[in-house]
């Protein structure tokens, strides 16, 4: 008797999950397809206005057109980020042994020229290999290191420390900087899409990087968190299960 009701319950949940998934796919399709044409029109016709009539308009009118175009571009980028982020759930992980130290090194050399690197104090500990999707884990390193570099840019002696530890269930990797840091009171906003803890004037960035990091690590069955002190720096951790 109990088994039958349990089976019924599972069937019902599966059905609901299926419907939710269909809704989701439809939403994704609308996002990637239907929103693009109006956006192209906003941007395109603004540029046409500038091209055809720019010389008849004064400086302020031309500036206003620039603002419209810049905002259309921003929405375009956000739509692309949302589409990519929402596709992550369906992605299959290609699991293999990943040499995390090499990967972190590779990312650093992509992000910094030798000359820029000389301005940083960089230390990389002994990082254990882990099982993961090398392409996606590279995105994680790139994002965390990019942030460490970006938020150190106003410091006189920037430093980046990459470390490793392990607990009973997972390998834990960390990226620590002595940059701007942030107030832990707002840490719940860190990994949400389009959330930023600094103004655009202070630091650029779309506010999508850490949302991607979180999705990738969750897909690997791990977790991600951070500790920070304003003006002293921050440390980002992510764990990958054994």
């Amino acid at each position: 008797m109990e088994n039958i009701s349990l089976e019924k319950r599972i069937d019902e949940l599966t059905r609901q999950l299926h419907i939710a998934h269909q809704d989701w796919e439809e939403f994704r399709h609308a996002l990637s397809h239907d929103l693009k044409a109006p956006l192209r029109a906003v941007q395109g016709f603004s540029l046409i206005l500038k091209e055809d009539y720019g010389s008849l308009l004064d400086e302020e009118a031309n500036r206003i057109i620039e603002v419209i175009v810049a905002n259309a571009n921003k929405v375009k980028q956000q739509i692309e980020d949302l589409v990519n982020l929402s596709g992550m759930g369906a992605k299959q992980l290609n699991l293999q042994d990943v040499n995390m130290k090499e990967l972190a090194e590779e990312c650093l050399s992509e992000l910094l020229t030798d000359e820029q690197r000389a301005g940083f104090e960089i230390s990389i500990g002994t990082l254990d290999k882990c099982k993961g999707d090398v392409g996606l884990l590279k995105e994680v390193w790139l994002q965390l290191l990019k942030n460490a570099i970006r938020y150190s840019s106003k410091k006189e002696k920037p430093s980046i420390e990459i470390n490793y530890s392990a607990d009973a269930t997972s390998r834990i990797y960390s990226v620590k900087d002595k940059g701007e840091g942030f107030d832990m009171e707002y840490s719940h906003k860190l990994f949400k899409i389009f959330q930023r803890l600094h103004s655009y004037e202070e630091f650029d960035g779309a506010g999508t990087g850490l949302a991607f990091v979180k999705r990738i690590i969750l897909k690997h069955g791990g977790s991600v968190w951070a500790e920070a002190t304003p003006n002293k720096g921050s440390c980002f951790y992510f764990s990958i299960p054994f």
Binding site: H29, S32, H33, D34, K36, A37, P38, L39, R40, A41, Q43, G44, F45, L47, I48, N73, K76, I79
Partner: protein, 148 residues
């Protein structure tokens, strides 16, 4: 459009803004003189098969290229493509799908139905205009059409 028998580019696009942007890009490279803009799939089929409002057209006069949107009211782009490629009289007309989505299924089905090219419309207007003029130059000036 003076005469339907001189049409070289058939633009099938239901979104008036996209159509205007496309025509503008072609006009800049002087390729908009022999263009007809049709606003949905049903109208496109009437034109291509010389039916309805276009029954006076000579079906043997083949345009150099058909630029076809996928998502349209009434008959969609893939259905238009299917009918063009299934008919001996029209199957040699080059058809280029221009669409906003990178949907894998649409791309696969497009090629299965015999599309000659599949282009995803860039959102950015500059890239869009460039893509349209590249397409125009290729299909009108570079590509050789079969002797009729």
């Amino acid at each position: 459009m003076h005469t339907y028998n001189e049409v070289e580019i058939v633009l099938v696009e239901d979104n008036p803004s996209d159509a205007e942007l496309t025509i503008r890009a072609l006009k800049k490279i002087n390729l908009s003189n022999h263009l007809i803009h049709l606003k949905d799939g049903a109208e496109a089929l009437d034109f291509i098969f010389a039916r309805g409002a276009y029954s006076g057209r000579n079906i043997n006069h083949k345009p150099r290229v058909i630029l076809l949107d996928i998502k349209m009211p009434k008959v969609d782009g893939l259905e238009v493509l299917k009918q063009i490629k299934e008919d001996e009289r029209t199957k040699s007309i080059p058809v280029v799908i221009m669409t906003s989505s990178r949907e894998q299924n649409d791309i696969i089905n497009g090629y299965k139905l015999g599309v000659n090219s599949y282009v995803v419309k860039p959102v950015d207007f500059g890239s869009f205009a460039k893509a349209v003029s590249d397409l125009g130059l290729y299909w009108i000036l570079l590509n050789e059409k079969p002797i009729e």
